[in-house]
Amino acid sequence: MQFDEQFFQDIGLGSASDEERAEMVNKLAELIQSRVALKLSEVLNDEQLQHFDKLIESEGDDAAMAYVEQTYPGYPELLQGEIEAVKREFAGDVQQVMDELKQPPADTTD
């Protein structure tokens, strides 16, 4: 799946400047990462979490993250799912606000 120019078109950033795209990519990445992180934290059991914690303390982030990857092989799907979800929510909300904005003001006469 390609998230290139089409991706930005899909989320309403087709005409956005490069700067805004870069800024948005940064924020979207942060959002996706947060959500993925939360889900990972929920799917691992206590024992796995404790092992992860030990690895962070003893061998550092890289080793701990490698363990997560090994323990939860469904990570690519999880990531892709979140990307899609974020894309959908973000684009949908933006679009809805912009659509409302285009509506002529309601007739208030009786």
Binding site: M1, Q2, F3, D4, F7, G12, L13, S15, A16, S17, D18, E19, E20, R21, A22, E23, M24, V25, N26, K27, L28, A29, L31, I32, Q33, S34, R35, V36, A37, L38, L40, S41, D46, L49, Q50, F52, D53, I56, D61, D62, A64, M65, A66, V68, E69, Y75, P76, L79, Q80, I83, V86, E89, F90, D93, V94, Q96, V97, M98, E100, L101
Partner: protein
């Protein structure tokens, strides 16, 4: 004859079917008909139900307390407020692009906040699991490779690369490189927060030391060629930070530009080499150029701010010059005062030199140079002249004064060797030293302040060793910002216009019961009557009890400041003073800050006797 019998039952009339009709087919048709009728009935029922519900919209409302309902209400509110903002912008004449940007930023910020709130709600820090979950979330969110991988996935679509990026196993070369260069570079530059001379990278959780102005030497092509992508990124950021943080000379700017050109050329070449498709190349290049443009804009803004600051600095420099001129004059006076000692002339020269030094460091543009030179010249001239004059004028008294001084200081060696507390400011050191000298309490608050400041300034200027010299104490104790009044300079001098004391222990005074009952016996045998508590606490001396202490002073510091201002304080021995100050400090701690403003407080502690 009977008819023929038969065993066969009588024939039943049978339904004659058309030979072409298959019974099973017929049954199937019947079943189908039944299903259709049932479906129609259900549909009717459904339709009736829907119609009924449509007429009663409240039936559609889900549980208002359900998570879904709350989410829906929340986002409706967000969209509502976003729309209000957008409409406001529209009313102000903003173009569609601007409004869209606003809406996008608002929505994404809300999504981010929502995600954060969800994380906080689900990872309960009061439980072990919650703590571990929070740790994992934090690790995933801040893990640099993961972060880049997500950025790459978004920008170039390499989801597979992103997944492998989690473990750092094999980020696809194309995606990883452009991700590191563009997204990673952007994030790194954005995350770097300047603190003093260093910058803190939030994404990496470490400090980057960018060194000081002038330390950033131009790069050589050979060095650039040897750098890997991370090193290039770091140097790039380092140069941009230096440009943003400091005013670069023309030569430095030229060097910076050459370095930047080389780094960017190498970066572009590297990307061109690695980006395989035209589309990726285009997109990656756009991102990088976009990133650089953002940085460029920031630099421009920062440089503009710096220029403004420079103008302000010049104004400050002019003010400093004025102050320095005042300081020079003050130091001239110092030279004059110092003239009472044998090496007064030399001290006077030093004073003038110090004035020159201060003025030299006060900055100022070319227009003020002449003025400074004149000031220095005048200060030097005044200092030397006054010093010489003081030596001459004090000739008649110097021997006597110096001898008294020396005697006084010899009796109180601790004055100049006493240990001060760690962290004491020069002013506090000055106060501690000077307030121990007999006769200190004779000076009024302004005089004490001037002398303390004189000592502190000298201490700052001359260095730590200075305060251990008797000259230091003597010079500051005798310091007088006003006219030359040798007689007033040293309590203990027979010529002093101020009351002066011998080192006589207080004894038997009814007014000084707490100090051991001592009277203040003057050299001529008289009694210094006014130095009583009643005098100290009289309404005409309100500053004694209302004078604020300095911010950050300890209770003991406050106590010493308050009690030290009372006439008669100096007659107590250091131990007695300490006891009384400690009493005051303890009461202050117990009774609260208001306590020190009561006369009873002062009196009780002043009178305190162990």
């Amino acid at each position: 004859m009977p008819g023929p019998e038969t065993d066969s039952p009588p024939e039943q009339p049978t339904q004659q079917l058309h030979p072409a009709v298959d019974v099973s087919e017929l049954e199937s048709a019947r079943a189908q008909l039944g299903r259709e009728r049932t479906h129609a009935a259900h549909t009717r029922k459904d339709n009736e139900g829907i119609t009924k519900l449509e007429n009663d919209p409240t039936k559609f409302d889900e549980d208002p307390d359900s998570t879904t309902a709350r989410e829906r209400r929340y986002w409706a509110k967000v969209r509502g407020t976003t729309q209000e903002g957008a409409e406001k912008l529209k009313a102000e004449g903003a173009d569609t692009e601007h409004i869209q940007t606003f809406v996008r930023e608002r929505i994404i910020d809300e999504l981010l906040q929502r995600a954060q709130a969800e994380i906080e709600a689900k990872n309960n820090p009061d439980t072990l699991r919650g703590k571990l979950q929070a740790k994992l979330v934090n690790a995933v969110r801040t893990h640099r490779k993961t972060r880049i991988a997500v950025g790459v996935a978004l920008s170039l679509g390499a989801v597979a690369a992103a997944s492998t990026g989690l473990g750092g196993v094999a980020i696809a070369a194309v995606a990883a490189r452009s991700g590191l260069s563009a997204i990673g570079g952007y994030i790194a530059a954005k995350d770097l927060q300047e603190v003093g001379g260093n910058k803190f990278s939030h994404s990496e959780g470490k400090w980057w030391n960018f060194g000081h102005k002038g330390e950033l030497a131009p790069l050589q092509q050979e060095k650039v060629d040897q750098m890997n992508a991370d090193e290039r990124l770091e140097h790039l950021t380092r140069i941009l930070a230096a440009k943003a943080r400091t005013t670069r000379s023309d030569k430095q700017s030229e060097g910076d530009q050459k370095s930047l050109d080389m780094l960017l050329a190498k970066e572009r070449a590297d990307i061109d080499k690695r980006l395989e498709t035209q589309q990726e190349k285009h997109f990656g290049a756009n991102l990088i150029h976009g990133t650089l443009r953002v940085l460029d804009e920031r630099l421009t803004q920062q440089l503009a701010a710096e220029r403004k600051q420079l103008i302000e600095d010049k104004k400050i420099a002019a003010r400093r010059t004025a102050i320095a001129t005042g300081v020079a004059a003050a130091l001239g006076t110092y030279g004059m005062v110092a003239g009472i000692t044998q090496d007064g002339l030399i001290l006077g020269r030093h004073a003038a030199g110090a004035a020159h030094h201060i003025i030299g460091h006060s900055g100022g543009g070319p227009s003020s140079t002449e003025h400074i030179a004149q000031s220095v010249s005048a200060a030097e001239h005044t200092a030397l002249k006054d010093a010489a004059h003081a030596v001459h004028a004090a000739e008649a008294h110097a021997g006597h004064v110096a001898a008294t001084h020396a005697a006084s200081l010899e009796h109180y060696p601790e004055i100049i060797t006493d240990h001060v507390d760690k962290g004491d400011t020069p002013v506090r050191v000055a106060m501690k030293h000077l307030s121990r000298i007999q006769g200190w309490s004779h000076f009024n608050a302004d005089q004490q302040h001037e002398k303390i400041m004189h000592f502190a300034n000298q201490l700052t200027r001359q260095g730590e060793h200075w305060r251990y010299t008797k000259e230091a104490i003597k010079g500051s104790f005798n310091f007088d910002h006003g006219a030359v009044q040798p007689d007033h300079m040293m309590p203990g001098s027979a010529h002093s216009a101020l009351p002066s004391y011998d080192h006589v222990a207080p004894s038997g005074s009814e007014h000084m019961a707490t100090s051991g009952g001592g009277e203040h016996v003057l050299p001529n045998g008289g009694v210094q009557a006014p130095e009583t508590h009643e005098f100290a606490l009289a309404p005409d001396s309100p500053e004694i009890v209302t004078q604020p202490a300095h911010f950050g002073d300890t209770a003991l510091g406050v106590a010493k400041q308050h009690l030290g201002r009372l006439p008669g304080w100096s007659v107590f021995s250091p131990d007695e003073q300490h006891d009384k100050a400690l009493h005051f400090a303890n009461q202050l701690r117990k009774s609260g800050d208001h306590w020190r403003y009561t006369k009873e407080a002062i009196q009780a502690s002043f009178n305190f006797k162990r």
